[in-house]
Amino acid sequence: MRETNKEWLPGFDKKFAALTHQMVKDLEKCLQCGKCTGQCPAAKLSSYNPREIIRDIRMGNVEKVISSHELWLCFFCSGCYAVCPRDINFPFAVSMLRYAALAQGYGWEEVKKIKDPYAQDYYETGLSVNINERNLGIKREIAKNSKTDGSIETVRKKMGLPAKRRVSERAVSEIKFIADATGMTDLFKEINKKKGKPKKWNYGSPADLVKIKRGANQKFIDVEEEDKEKVS
């Protein structure tokens, strides 16, 4: 994609203002020193390049970044944040850019891979890691080490624990309520759709919660306006 010299994609910070005000503020500070890329585990093994992503965003090539495969290669180790002389929280920016990508219809097949094993378990049981071992090789090793059938349920019983960790019915129903009331469930349904461009999603900030509480909107708009002023 051709490099342009626009400062930011027109309307980018406005469009995602609620989410991106911190990111815009952060990326503006970048010195392009490249320390982030130097220590990056993903950069070592692939074409992922944090410095280049910041440069592209600042040059206005937002579309190039959010449509790229590289955006999904971050390890989220925060090493770049730890070494950054300007304290740019780059993993946060990556997360926000991924939301921006989803909002533009990119990367839905990537989040589907996470939604199925983890988020669905979270919604149904309150725990995001399933007790069933998917990797049979690991199960065989555990069976050998513990001299049992290798399932965690048996190991737990051997330790004097209940076979499964108890999560109260109240807790699970509360999680389901929060998910339904705040749009998490709707988003899961959207992620499940395999074909066709998903409908546009407004990945708002927590400020969007006000949709549930009518009347408080004004307060929130004030907060966002304040934040925008700080940016400029």
Binding site: S78, V129, S168, I175, A179, T182, L209
Partner: protein, 317 residues
């Protein structure tokens, strides 16, 4: 922030809320039992609740849910601890990150907190922001001397390689207990129990899990990255690797099996969480440590450990 200042702020009460990690319950159950057992020996009671679920914050960082959904979910979990008036002890770097980040976000923005509370009021809970959230390292480092006094089976003669996990030190470079680049707290705790440190160059390197990595990219980057770390770790010839995060534990433990299976080498360094190691040194029943659930066998480690113990007994007695 200087270490002394943080330590002064860390308040140790007789009772703490143990925030159970998902991986700690469903993959490595030893983390929860060993921390309950060894803290009891130090006179601290750890309380758990069935109302606590997965922290929920990770859904935001893996982009499968909006921050608007995960914020109340995280606040709900903190509210469970607040109802008992207990400070929270986390065993997982991830739980610590999400609980801390989200609670700061809400505490700094009263309107956001109000709206979150509107949702929580519908399920009969309230987020106040009144309780502290601690990483296990902060609490353990603070009671280091008490641990030292209570050691019944010293780790003398055993060599340990340390791994801190990224999310605690890197992510909290301004508020964590130690420096992000050259930390020493974990080593100090191990040495207090008599253990030796096996130093290796890739100590501060990420374990390679990154939830999005192992799921989205199907180990394409994760496997070679962890291999590089393990190769370096093997040079130091440790008896075990010590971690402070269940995800690092799962990654370093399980990836060794995967690498062995694929014929990429011979990897057999047992990986142990700090709370399990302390429980071992404090003489907690070995069954409660849950070392059976690990993919890499502890047989050789425990054999060496017990032979060293009986040798010491002969010397002393």
């Amino acid at each position: 922030m200087p270490r002394q200042e943080i330590l002064e702020k860390t308040k140790i009460s007789d009772r703490l809320f143990l925030f159970q990690p998902c991986v700690g319950s469903n993959k490595y159950p030893g983390l929860i039992t060993s921390s309950i057992e060894f803290f009891r020996k130090l006179g601290i009671e750890l309380v758990t609740s069935d109302d606590q679920t997965c922290c929920g914050g990770f859904l935001t960082f893996t982009n499968v849910a909006q921050p608007t959904s995960t914020m109340p979910a995280v606040a709900r979990n903190i509210a469970v601890a607040e109802e008992m008036n207990l400070d929270i002890l986390t065993l997982c770097n991830g739980c610590h990150t999400f609980l801390t980040e989200f609670s700061h976000f809400m505490n700094d923005r009263p309107p956001v907190k109000n709206v979150v509370n509107t949702i929580l009021s519908m399920i009969g809970r309230e987020y106040k922001g009144s309780q502290d959230i601690y990483h296990s390292l902060e609490i353990i480092y603070k009671v280091k001397d008490r641990i030292k006094e209570n050691v019944t089976r010293p780790l003398t003669g055993m060599k340990f390689a340390t791994h801190y996990g990224c999310h605690y030190l890197n992510g909290f470079k301004k508020t964590a207990l130690d420096d992000a680049h050259m930390p020493t707290i974990l080593e100090e705790i191990i040495e207090a129990m008599g253990g030796e440190i096996a130093e290796y160059a890739e100590n501060r390197t990420c374990c390679g899990t990154g939830l999005t990595q192992i799921i989205i990219n199907k180990e394409e980057l994760s496997l070679p990255h962890t291999k590089m770390k393990l190769d370096n770790l093997n040079h130091a010839e440790p008896d075990a690797a010590v971690v402070v995060c269940p995800y690092c534990l799962a990654q370093i433990d399980r990836m060794q099996q995967k690498l062995n299976y694929r014929g990429a080498g011979q990897y057999e360094v047992p990986v142990i969480h700090l709370v399990q190691l302390i429980a071992l040194a404090l003489g907690v029943d070995e069954v409660k440590l849950g070392l059976d659930a690990h993919a890499i066998s502890f047989a050789r480690f425990l054999k060496k450990f017990s032979s060293l113990q009986s040798k010491k007994e002969v010397e002393h007695g």
